[in-house]
């Protein structure tokens, strides 16, 4: 993707974010029970959605790599995983800040926060695994197998921790139940700029992977001389 396209995407995202911020802060009414801090949900939830999309894409890319053996799939897998981790971290931190206000404590072992933490650890492990292997083909193969295992595990983690929490109820981060349609619309509306930013980051990261490969080719040529 060309520089110009990336910059245009960034500008579109910035405009959307600015508009959404205005609506979030000044137009939407206060949530009755929680007050202003509730508005953090419009970053907290779409960040999670973006992260999950990234992890899912990583799993698909990993499987495709194992089938086609094209290193470009591996580059895509690491790019979306890294970006997904960044968004997952944003989700965790906003969740903790929310919990601090509503419950007075930074961490509550709430089902969704805990599951997201486990997810984060899983994919951080994926990055660590990649750092431990130097040969590109071997690294791609090992990382792909782990990514597939991790992605199969994610739904099981969410289910099991939610069941654990229904057996031992603790403070819940987001109450269930229906939300006002205005809030729902804003959730999706704010997801769009986050997705755009995510895509820009993935493209930048992908280009770096390609450049890394060019670098290694150059290095081999330099040592051959």
């Amino acid at each position: 993707m060309r520089e110009k396209t990336l910059i245009v995407l960034c500008i579109v995202a910035a405009i959307l974010l600015a508009h959404n911020l205005y609506v979030i802060l000044l137009v939407l009414p206060d949530e009755v029970a929680q007050g202003p801090i509730f508005r953090i949900i419009f970053l907290h939830v779409p960040a999670a959605w973006t992260a999950f999309l990234g992890f899912l894409a990583a799993a698909v890319a990993s499987a495709l790599y194992l089938v086609r053996k094209d290193l470009r799939y591996d580059a895509f897998a690491v790019a979306v995983t890294e970006v997904g981790l960044a968004f997952a971290a944003a989700n965790l931190v906003t969740g903790m800040i929310w919990a601090r206000i509503i419950w007075g404590i930074w961490w509550t072992w709430d089902a969704r926060l805990t599951s997201m933490l486990v997810c984060w650890l899983l994919y951080a492990g994926y990055l660590m695994l990649r750092h431990a292997v130097e040969e590109p083909t071997q690294r791609a193969r090992i990382a792909a197998v782990f990514s597939i295992f991790a992605s199969v595990d994610v739904p099981i983690v969410f289910f099991s921790i939610r069941w654990w929490r229904t057996q031992h109820p603790q403070p819940v981060v987001w109450g269930g139940g229906s939300m006002d349609p205005a809030y729902w619309n804003m959730l999706f509306l704010n997801w769009v700029p986050l997705l755009l930013l995510g895509m820009v980051m993935v493209v930048i990261r992908l280009r770096q992977e390609r450049r890394q490969r060019e670098l290694e080719a150059l290095r081999r040529m330099a040592h051959a001389l």
């Binding site: 492990g125 660590m128 695994l129 197998v145 782990f146 595990d153 099981i156 099991s160 921790i161 057996q167």
Partner: protein, 246 residues
Amino acid sequence: MRAPVKSPPETARRAAAPARPGFVRGALTIAAKDLRAELRTKEALNASLAFSVVILLLFSFAFDPTAEQTRALAGGLLWLVFAFAGALILNRSFARELPNDCLDALIASPVSAPALYLGKALANWVLLMAVEMVSLAVFGIFYNAAWTRRFGLLVGVVALGTWALTVVGTLFSALTVNLRLRELMLPLLVYPVLIPALLAAIQLSGPLALGEPLASDMMVWLRLLAGFNLIFTALALTLAETALVG
């Protein structure tokens, strides 16, 4: 009349092609080999056992073993011990094949990669079960727990949880066998993946290890554990060839 002689190409072919062992036989052969090797030296077994006893001892300093709260921690304590002791055994699983290119020889052998993986997983499972049974006895003594009261169900739960540990751990052991920081990477990668299974095992083992019955709503954990085992065994067998060979 000259007796009919088999044509040379056919005899040569039959002599050259080794009999390919079936999947189950291959796996059992590998499992037996690993168990025999381990039982001769008992290195990993002893280390694992010693480690588990030490952890149980340390925990008795951290928490008063007779207090009511400690009894609530029983499940978690047991599975922490099993998970850490298991890491020792799992690490050695493929690492013991590294010297003298044994791993290359195994991969080149007629045993298929999934059979090789399954054999090692079975051997690890047996070894880990042995360590866990002894740990349970020590736990019973240190913490005054009536662990034999629901023996059948407890062993069943421990067996399922151990299989989960073994299935994922053996595959990741194959995956990380050539890595620099293998001893560190293996637990770091395995434990997060195992969290649902460990959670289920902890919830189920807690009451059972103290001799108490399981509440009816605990059956979901049993189903979760069984489902986890099924899914990851299938996944591991599918990816075994990729993990070992590429």
